[in-house]
């Protein structure tokens, strides 16, 4: 029997506000334990939450970026659960009416196709603190408690781990372009939970979904899905699907390369949501609605523009736009009016190749966009050959000098494109090899290469090869 995999994703994005969602504590990462806390996020009696305007704006920006409905009225609810990482004994979240719903995004798949994935909703909520387990006690650090989160829930519309990872990458890239989150997976500012189920091919209704939490890299998302699909398929084939696969939360265990059950079957959570009496509905003004429509150019739009206006290949456009910083670098290069296709080549193969080798990313590039653009313009004006330019780039990766002309001189790479100078060399070559000129003229075409080589040699490699070719043809015709 063949099975279809059904995947839905919940992503928690930490919004990069300066203060927490309901109090003024800083959201800075890696501070001394419990220094970013106050009576509100510690849930002391009588302390009241006051909503951070910026968190609302960022959520709305996201809504517009994914063609969603931004609700002018949304509601905060209490989600009850008991765990020391939440001194309130509930999480303030949104339930009945989230700030954003009915959105979509488009993922780019390896075969070049694109697929629409629906976004059910995106709602604002407060993050929890952290526990450190230490023998007979647990230590609680509540610095993170109350950090604003945007939980983005997809429709169960992905059918493979490739689609799931493509969705995550696109979402990651969108929140980075919008500058609403650092989206740093290692630091936990972009966390994903994966819902996986299987169903026999052709079956209409969904199978039982299992939620996998605690996945902090795209690679682990793919591995966790693969493991869970295999586990569920095996249970189905062994006739124990009903008893083995039930709605539960599992954790991805990096060491064991497996998912494991987080809590027993009988203890499924009951969150008892109800509207938070401390917070009235979130009412967004018309002015804020308008303001939230001003979104920067997003990766999809950039790809389309690069293809249409700059004549760049789709694959290249996808590589450049995957990272916001890369796209900005590329656009910075183009400000020098160089050929966009040369810019693509020099960015994606020459510069990135060297950066990868050095273990650097684009933001740490020793050579900035304007400098590399100047170098490209020197090739375009025939001041240096393509090969010579690579030597210049190599030099800059290791040295501080950034004046391209100075480096070209220093490395002796100046290219002679002046017709007069090249003609002088050509004439000398032809004079010294009169016999070969006669042979050539009587039909020995192969000798052309000899003349080119001799001219280049006498110019010590500095002559522009294209010019040498053209001028020789003219002279020998």
């Amino acid at each position: 029997m063949r099975f279809e995999t059904v995947i839905g994703l919940e992503v928690h994005v930490q919004l990069n506000t300066k203060s927490k969602i309901f109090c003024s504590c800083p959201t800075s990462f890696a501070e001394h334990q419990n220094t970013n806390t106050c009576p509100v996020c510690l849930a002391l009696p009588g302390a009241l939450p006051v909503l951070n305007l910026e968190a609302v704006k960022k959520a709305m920006l996201f809504g517009n970026a994914v063609n969603a409905t931004v609700n002018q009225k949304s509601i905060f609810n209490r989600k009850s659960y008991f765990y020391p990482d939440s001194p309130m004994a509930y999480q303030i979240s949104q339930f009945d009416i989230p700030i954003v719903e009915h959105g979509e995004l488009f993922v780019d798949l390896e075969d070049g196709s694109s697929k629409r994935i629906g976004i059910t909703r995106a709602h604002l909520e407060a993050d929890a603190g952290k526990n450190i387990h230490d023998g007979s006690i647990s230590k609680v650090d509540l610095n993170r408690a109350g950090t604003p989160l945007l939980e983005i829930v997809s429709e169960p519309e992905m059918r493979s781990s490739e689609e799931a990872v493509a969705y995550l990458r696109k979402l990651h890239s969108i929140v980075r372009y919008l500058d609403i989150s650092d989206a740093n997976m290692q630091e936990g500012s972009f966390r994903c939970d994966v819902n996986v189920s299987i169903r026999p091919e052709g079956q209409e209704e969904f199978g039982t979904r299992v939620e996998i939490k605690n996945i902090n890299s795209f690679r682990f998302v793919a591995a966790a899905i693969a493991y869970e699909v295999a586990r569920q398929t095996e249970a189905y084939e062994d006739g124990i699907y009903e008893s083995e696969v039930y709605q539960e939360t599992r954790l991805w265990d990096v060491a064991k390369n497996a998912t494991k059950s987080m809590r027993g079957k009988e203890d499924s959570a009951d969150y008892r949501y109800f509207p938070d009496p401390d917070l009235r509905p979130v009412l967004v003004s018309e002015e804020m609605m308008e303001e939230a429509k001003h979104i920067p150019e997003l990766p999809d739009a950039k790809v389309a523009r690069y293809i249409q206006e700059l004549g760049i290949k789709k694959d290249d456009a996808l590589v450049i736009t995957a990272l916001k910083e890369m796209a900005y670098y590329f656009e910075e290069m183009l400000k020098s009016n160089i050929n966009p296709k040369s810019a693509v080549t020099w960015l994606t193969s020459e510069l990135l190749g060297r950066l990868n080798k050095a273990g650097l990313d684009i933001t740490a590039s020793p050579v900035d966009a304007a400098t590399i653009a100047t170098l490209i313009s020197k090739i375009e004006s025939d001041a240096v050959s393509g090969k010579g330019a690579k030597d210049v780039l190599d030099y800059m990766m290791e040295n501080d000098e950034r004046n391209i002309d100075t480096i070209i001189d220093k490395l002796g790479l100046a290219q002679v494109s002046d017709d007069g100078a090249i003609l002088a060399i050509i004439e000398a070559v032809l004079n010294d090899n009169q016999d070969k000129v006669n042979e050539y003229k009587s039909g020995k075409d192969k000798l052309f290469g000899f003349f080119v080589g001799e001219t280049m040699k006498r110019s010590k490699g500095s002559a522009n090869p294209a010019k040498v070719n053209a001028l020789l043809k003219e002279k020998l015709s």
Binding site: K18, N36, I137, Y273, R280, P281
Partner: protein, 108 residues
């Protein structure tokens, strides 16, 4: 994640032993076997009382979440710290260590 949503038009809830058991678990309360029948009776009365609300015709009305008018106030995104306050809170915590709050071990 939000599949526990209760609809407005829910069937009358019958309190029985299974539901009582679940409520005991959720409320961390233990009800003596001898008292169970009485509690079931009382809970059923409470639910029946609340169900009086169903007599109102609310079709065509928007859901309402607060008896107050207007939206929740919002603050500008400015951060501040009151270090003395947190020191005092930690000092008053039943148990703390190295500026952590300390709780009994959480069994994972």
């Amino acid at each position: 994640m939000y599949n526990n949503k209760t609809s407005n038009k829910e069937e009358n809830v019958q309190i029985d032993n299974t539901i009582l058991e679940k409520l005991e678990k959720l409320s961390h309360l233990k009800i003596d076997d001898g008292k169970k029948e009485e509690i079931i009776h009382q809970l059923s009365d409470i639910v029946a009382y609340v169900e009086n609300l169903s007599e109102l015709d609310t079709s065509g009305l928007d859901a309402s979440f607060s008896t107050l008018t207007g939206g929740t106030p919002m603050r500008e995104d400015v951060s501040s710290k009151q270090e003395e306050v947190i020191k005092s809170i930690l000092a008053h915590a039943p148990q703390s260590e190295d500026d952590f709050f300390v709780v009994p071990a959480i069994i994972e």
